[in-house]
């Protein structure tokens, strides 16, 4: 794990030669994690709002690595929610029904909101269950 991370960091160094955006992103994630621990709330980073060179995104994701949770949900197309090797740092990938990416986010939080069952949906489910039992 240690060596893998080191290799990944090396790659980040290489990537820095292009947009210089990978390292600042990692720092932003570090700050967001610290904020989260201090109860200052979650952070969401839109990966599509930053210029990244080919391969830089992969380097970033490789650096973050994989953690214990890998969830997928299906709402207007699939969405993948992956906890990275750093607990509290999640990668959220939205796809449309053609499996084209429509959103890429890094969320720093206990659990991404989207994984929770939503009040409206619960209410609707309850209604359905009740009407089914009636």
């Amino acid at each position: 794990m240690q060596t893998e991370l080191e290799t990944a960091m090396l790659n980040v160094e290489l990537g820095d030669e292009l947009t210089y955006n990978v390292k600042p992103l990692l720092h932003e994630i570090r700050h967001a994690l610290a904020k989260l621990l201090n109860d200052e709330g979650p952070t969401v980073i839109d990966l599509r709002s930053l210029p990244l060179a080919p391969g830089e995104e992969e380097k970033l994701l490789n650096t973050l690595g994989h953690g214990e949770v890998h969830a997928s949900l299906n709402a207007l197309g699939p969405t993948e929610v992956v906890e990275t090797g750093y607990p509290g740092v999640w990668v959220v990938l939205h796809y449309n029904t053609d499996r084209e990416v429509i959103g890429k986010f890094i969320e720093v939080c206990d659990i991404p909101d989207l994984l929770r069952s939503q009040q409206d949906d619960i209410r609707e489910g309850l209604e359905q269950l009740q009407s089914g039992l009636a």
Binding site: N96, F105, Q118, D121
Partner: protein, 363 residues
């Protein structure tokens, strides 16, 4: 889907869950280039938004803009947006044709007077109105009539925004942009040849969400997408700063992905979101695939000289001019020099000897 139904209701009716709606809002925020923290605001606004009527007019165009939009039109978020608007007239997309289609347009204009959004692609010929007509109505007349009742006009594509290819020299049809003809309505230009699809939908989403037009630059382009140049956000910018350029399309620099400035990249003078939003569902953008930016979202790009020469290089033959100037300068210099010599010689010839008696001035 009734016109009074809110977007939230419509989606819910279509079986979209709250979770799906939140995902839709997150994608919409990303599309509108808004920070993720805006998602709850967007969600609240969209839930209660009412679907506006949209009339789409196509003039002198190649349908590339519509193509660009429909490329991403299958059940996607953009598709959802389009499902949430009432596209009352689009002669390429609508099923109706002929007088029925025109009747639909007129009905929509009447029913939604002052509220509908007018989307235009293509430029308008001002020379001979017969160059482009729809159902016997000249483009200009149709635009002016449709503009009267519009809440806002979205000029999609460089032709509608700035005149585009039809306006290229010598501009045989006298093609002009929408803003050349309409001055009393808010106009949002979404230039690009074609524009990035999410930019078109992003602008509509913005209107849908906030009921206002987004912040615009001096060319009436939404700042959220056109606020930074390609060059500023280009991942190859570090090579420019280091002076590393590809000289040809197949040299070492090209293979190493160096800056394409020397190959005519117009990135420094082009304002668009290609470098971040990218094309083809975020796959890449022209520079990423090794081709210089053409500057297609800038006015006049079609007449800007070669696509493959740098933006600051001369368009005329300067060495030739310089060589002629050296010749002419030598001739002029010799002529002027000869005149000077003649003048000087005249003074020498006219010189009267100064003696000691010539020193005192009569006082």
């Amino acid at each position: 889907m009734s016109k009074d139904e809110t977007l939230g209701e419509a989606l819910r009716r279509q079986g979209v869950t709250r979770r799906g709606f939140l995902k839709f809002c997150a994608a919409t925020a990303s599309m509108m280039a808004l920070p993720p923290s805006m998602v709850p605001v967007i969600a609240a606004a969209l839930e209660s938004a009412r679907r506006p009527s949209v009339i789409w007019l196509s003039f002198q165009e190649c349908t590339g803009c519509t193509e660009s939009l429909t490329r991403s039109h299958s059940p996607t978020v953009e598709g959802l947006i389009f499902d949430s608007i009432s596209l009352d007239y689009h002669h390429t997309l609508q099923a109706a044709s002929g007088s029925a289609a025109e009747a639909a347009r007129e009905t929509a204009m009447e029913e939604n007077h002052g509220k509908y959004i007018l989307v235009v692609d293509g430029s308008i010929p001002t020379d001979n109105p017969g160059y482009s007509t729809i159902a016997g109505i000249s483009n200009r007349d149709m635009l002016e009539e449709a503009a009267k009742g519009a809440a806002a006009i979205v000029s999609v594509g460089t032709c509608a925004a700035f005149g585009g290819i039809p306006a290229a020299k010598p501009n045989p049809t006298g093609a002009v942009s929408v803003s050349d003809l309409v001055h009393d309505k808010p106009i949002i230009n979404v230039p690009g040849c074609p524009p990035i699809p999410v930019v078109i939908t992003g602008v509509l989403a913005h209107y849908l969400t906030f009921g206002t037009i987004p912040e615009l630059d001096d060319l009436k382009r939404p700042k959220a997408y056109y606020g930074k140049s390609i060059h500023d956000r280009c991942y190859r910018r570090p090579f420019y700063d280091k002076g590393l350029f590809a000289e040809t399309f197949d040299d070492e620099g090209a293979r190493k992905g160096w800056c394409l400035y020397k190959l005519g990249c117009k990135g420094p003078t082009t304002y668009n979101a290609c470098a971040t939003v990218k094309w083809n569902e975020g796959t890449s953008f022209p520079i990423e695939s090794g081709h210089p930016c053409l500057g297609c979202s800038e006015p006049g790009f079609w007449d800007g000289g070669s696509f493959y020469s740098a933006i600051s290089t001369p368009t005329e033959d300067i060495p030739k001019a310089a060589v002629y100037a050296v010749g002419a300068g030598a001739a002029a210099g010799v002529a002027l020099g000869a005149m000077n010599r003649a003048k000087k010689q005249k003074s020498v010839d006219a010189h009267e000897k100064v003696t000691i008696d010539d020193l005192d001035k009569e006082k």
